[in-house]
Every structure is written in C-alpha cells, then in structure tokens.
C-alpha cells in the first residue's frame, strides 16, 4: 500500500514558485489506507524530481503545476526509480 495514501496535504505558498503553480507541503498523517479525495486528480499526472536532495516533487496535471515538499515521498520515488 502506498504511503502516499497515508498523507495529508496542507496547502502552502511556495516562495519562488513559478506563476500558475501551487505549492503543497505533505506531512505524515494517521496511518491508514489511502482514499481518493473529492479534489483528487482525474487526469494523467507527470511527476518530476529535478534535484534528488531537495525533497521537492513537481506534479504536472492539466494546465497546472503542483509543487510538493516531502523528503520521504521523494525518497521512495527515487528508490522505486532506481529499480531492483
């Protein structure tokens, strides 16, 4: 079960974020199974990690960009991308 599902999104205002983007900070929430929220994306999403040390994940969805700051999530994606 993805740990993403056990996280809670807290809206933030990322300084320096490009126009048209939204910054979100993800923090651990109570353990439990992931559930889609009413605002959950219903279209393809592209995830982009530019700097493996920064803990920042950029999500391209529709005509928006969502910036997520979550070292743990980024680490797990990097691990998955590393294969094996």
């Amino acid at each position: 079960m993805s740990e993403t599902s056990r996280r809670k999104l807290l809206a933030g205002t990322g300084a320096g974020v490009a126009v048209g983007t939204v910054a979100l900070t993800m923090r651990p929430a109570a353990a439990g199974e992931a559930r889609r929220t009413p605002s959950s994306a219903r279209e393809p999403v592209v995830a982009y990690i530019e700097d493996h040390r920064a803990g920042t994940l950029r999500l391209m969805v529709g005509e928006r960009e969502v910036v997520v700051h979550d070292h743990d999530l980024v680490t797990r994606i990097l691990n998955a991308a590393g294969g094996e």
Binding site: V19, G20, Y48, M60, V61, G62, E63, R64
Partner: protein, 457 residues
C-alpha cells in the same frame, strides 16, 4: 532574420518560432491598430502532402503593455485545433477547396481567441476557421477570394490566422558569411567582387496571426489618444509562444501529449534583437524570459558586438565608429525604453525606465500618406521604430543605427562615418506585394505555381 531560426531551440521548433512582429495604426482604419505575429519560417509553398499549420500544442500570445512596467497588461491568446475529416485518405484535400468549410479539405484548422486582462480571461471567439494553404490552381482556385473569407469579424475587431507570404527581405547568405554586405564586398577583410544581393526569403511563406482592434481597446486610459506627447499614447507590443511544461510521447497515438502549465518557449518584439544583439549562449534563455527582465541584456545593447565587428570586417570604412566607446544610449532608447521627448522633434515613444524589448507604438501618430520604408530615420514617424509596418526595411534601418547613424540623436559630438548612409544588405523587396487592407500581408505563394528560388506566384 528578423527572427527566423534566431535561437538554437526555436530553430528546432518552427511552429513556435516567431519570425516577425508588426504593430501599426491601420492605414485604412486609423481608429484601429493592427497587430501581427508570424510563425513557421521558410515555408516552401510546395511542402506537401503534410502542409504547414499552426501547432495545436502551442499557445500563441500577442501582448500589450500600456502601463510602462514591461509586463503584459492585455494579452490576446490564440489556440488551435486541427481536425481530420476523412481518416481513410492520405490526401490534404480530396478535391477542390472552394470554401473554408469545404468537405474536400481533409485537414481543416480552427482556433479560439481569448482576451486576458487583469488576470481574467474572456473568450472572444471559440472557433474560427483558418484558410487552407495555397496548394495550387486545381486544389485552391481563386485563393485570394478563399483566404479573404477567413478574415473574421469579432465585435469591432478583425482577426485572421493562416498562411501568408513572408514580407521580410534580407540577404541571409551574405550576412552570415562573416558579415558580408554586398555593397561593400570589395572592402571586406576577405574581399571579393561585387555581386547582386539575394533576397533569401523570396518565395517563402509564413503562418500569420493578425488582429485588428480599436485603439481604445489597448491604450492605458481606454481612449484614442490624439496628443502624441502624452505617455498614454504609447503601447508596447510583443508576441510569445508557449508550450506545456511537460511533454510525454504517447506511443499509442504516436504523438506528444502535453501536461502542466504553459511555459514561454519564444518571444519577439524588436526585429533582430535576439538574432544579432543577444549572444548565442544566451538566446534560448532570452526566449524563455519576459521583457520585464531585459535589463540583464542591456549590456549587449549598450555595447553591441556588431558595432565592434564592422570596423574589423571593413578596415578603414568605419573609423569614427571604431573610436566610439561610450555606451550606446541611442540603441538603448530605440530597443529597450523607447525614445523620450526631445530627442526627435515632435516624436516620442517612451514607455518609462523599465528596460524591456518590445515594439513601441505611439498610436496618436496617424498613418503616413506617403510611407517611407526607412521610417523614423527618414522622417516618417509612422514607421519603425514607431511600431513596425509590414514594408519597413528594418534590416537597413538597424544596420545603419548600429553603425552609428543614430548616435548623434543623443551625442551630438559624434559624426557618423560617411559609409553609414550607404549601408544596406543589397537586397530589394522581391516578395509578394503586401495589400492595402487587413491582414496586409500578401497572398502566399502557391505550391504548384511557385518555382523554388524565384519570386512567389
């Protein structure tokens, strides 16, 4: 040139490569201003079966700055959609196309026009038709009449998007061969015999986005200014093309699919700015930046590389220019701030101290009854660098300005070299004639009837 393939990235992305931008008070409707942005350079008219078209995955913007901040105060956005009517044929057209709604046109293109102001978007027209390209007399007979039906009225505005003849002329082969100017070949560091200039763009087409709007729609106070000395009489104009931040190749359909916000891939204001002012290593970054940040490129305007090269390439021809080492306040004004009052008698197109590359048009100056294609430097204040008309010879104007012709406007102690007023690139305008009415650019050359390397037919 003026911005054809001007940067490494845009050279590889023709549908997002803006070639020229024009802004002028409409000569036949002087209560309106015409804004034109051309894309897709060097279109051979016979380039089928997949003829040229706008990018469905590109957002095309024409911006107006009227507050002196170097930021878009009004944006007109054009987005395109291409259809395939008959999926069973390889043909662009399955018979004669005698109307823009013809079922024989297998690949029609449509577009929306959106006006963005104060962060609010309003769709002015959701679906307008482009004309087909000019294929030939069998496929697109009476092309001029056919294309004319693609001039749409949207309220008090007129809009057109489709193929036209390129109006720009320049001797690319000569200039990019170590700065050769045909009139001075024998004086070049590597001399050769004089030969006639070659119009490199002769016979090629472009794709044009043209918009004609009431002047009162784009000015600071929502009026039609009559006093050219007032700051509110000047608008800044530039175009930009945008691609989605992320593109994923979808092998199921064999095409890229875009995701994320629109990001600026190219822009164009003054002709030749990115082409001959900005260094190669900075060109792609310049295309991605907004004009407001152009102070970072001011050093290349103030001390242009071309002005240093001319005396080297033509020994003894430009001694006064060679000895001039001050910052080029004349070029800074022409390209980055507009010309303040008091420099050229009776004229100004100053937009304030924010250095930003854009065309600057004083809309209170009426169209000229006898236009001079050398514009302001020849005493015609309705022409470049007061905006830009389709027939303005911007290559000659800018070559002469860089060579020192305009220095005395701001530094009377300087005397231009005698050769300056003779500078040109040796070409004559052998392009298809422009027209006296909207969209002003001539009909595109036809694929059947145009012989490569010759004037369009």
């Amino acid at each position: 040139m003026s911005s054809h393939r001007e940067a490494p990235e845009t050279a590889k992305d023709p549908v997002a490569d803006s070639t020229d931008v024009y802004a002028f008070v409409s000569p036949d409707r002087p209560d309106t201003v015409t804004l034109i942005a051309n894309y897709i350079p060097f279109q051979a008219p016979d380039g089928g079966p997949n003829f040229y078209e706008f990018g469905d995955d590109v957002a095309y913007d024409i911006h107006i700055a009227n507050q002196g901040k170097g930021e878009p105060d009004i944006t007109y956005r054009f987005k395109f959609h291409t259809a395939v009517r008959n999926p069973t044929t390889f043909l662009y057209n399955t018979g004669q196309i005698t109307s823009i709604n013809s079922p024989n046109w297998n690949r029609p293109q449509f577009y929306s026009v959106t006006r963005i102001k104060d962060g609010k978007s309003k769709v002015l027209a959701p679906k307008l038709a482009c004309p087909p390209v000019n294929i030939g007399p069998r496929s697109t007979p009476n092309y001029a009449d056919l294309a004319a039906t693609a001039v749409h009225k949207v309220g008090k505005r007129r809009v057109f998007a489709g193929q036209r003849a390129d109006a720009f002329h320049v001797d690319l082969g000569s200039i990019f061969d170590l700065g050769t100017l045909r009139p001075f070949e024998n004086l070049h560091l590597i001399p050769s015999a004089a030969t006639p200039g070659v119009n490199s763009l002769q016979g090629f087409n472009v794709h044009t986005i043209a918009l004609q709007v009431p002047i009162s729609e784009v000015t600071r106070f929502g009026t039609q200014p009559t006093n050219a000395a007032k700051p509110g009489a000047v608008i800044g104009v530039w175009a930009s093309a945008h691609r989605r931040t992320s593109r994923i190749f979808d092998p199921k359909v064999g095409a890229y699919v875009g995701h994320g916000p629109w990001a600026q891939a190219s822009r164009l204001g003054n002709p030749l700015f990115n082409e001959v002012i900005v260094p190669m290593a900075k060109k792609d970054g310049w295309n991605a930046h907004r004009p407001k940040g152009d102070h970072r490129y001011a050093k290349y305007v103030n001390h242009p590389e071309l002005a240093k090269l001319l005396p080297v390439l033509y020994p003894g021809v430009f001694p006064n220019l060679a000895g001039y080492h001050k910052a080029r306040a004349d070029l800074n004004a022409i390209l980055l701030t507009g010309i303040p009052s008091g420099v050229v008698p009776g004229f100004q197109n100053f937009t304030g101290p924010v250095e930003s590359d854009m065309l600057r048009l004083n809309v209170a100056i009426p169209p000229s009854s006898s236009p001079n294609n050398l514009g302001l430097v020849a005493g015609d204040a309705a022409g470049f660098p007061n905006g830009r008309r389709v027939d303005d010879d911007v290559v000659t104007i800018e070559l002469r300005a860089v060579a020192g012709l305009t220095i005395p406007l701001v530094d009377p102690s300087f005397t231009p070299d005698g050769a300056v007023t003779a500078i040109q690139d040796g070409t004559s305008n052998t392009n298809t004639a422009t027209t006296s009415t909207f969209p002003y650019l001539g009909n595109p050359g036809g694929g059947y009837q145009t012989v490569p390397g010759t004037a369009a037919v």
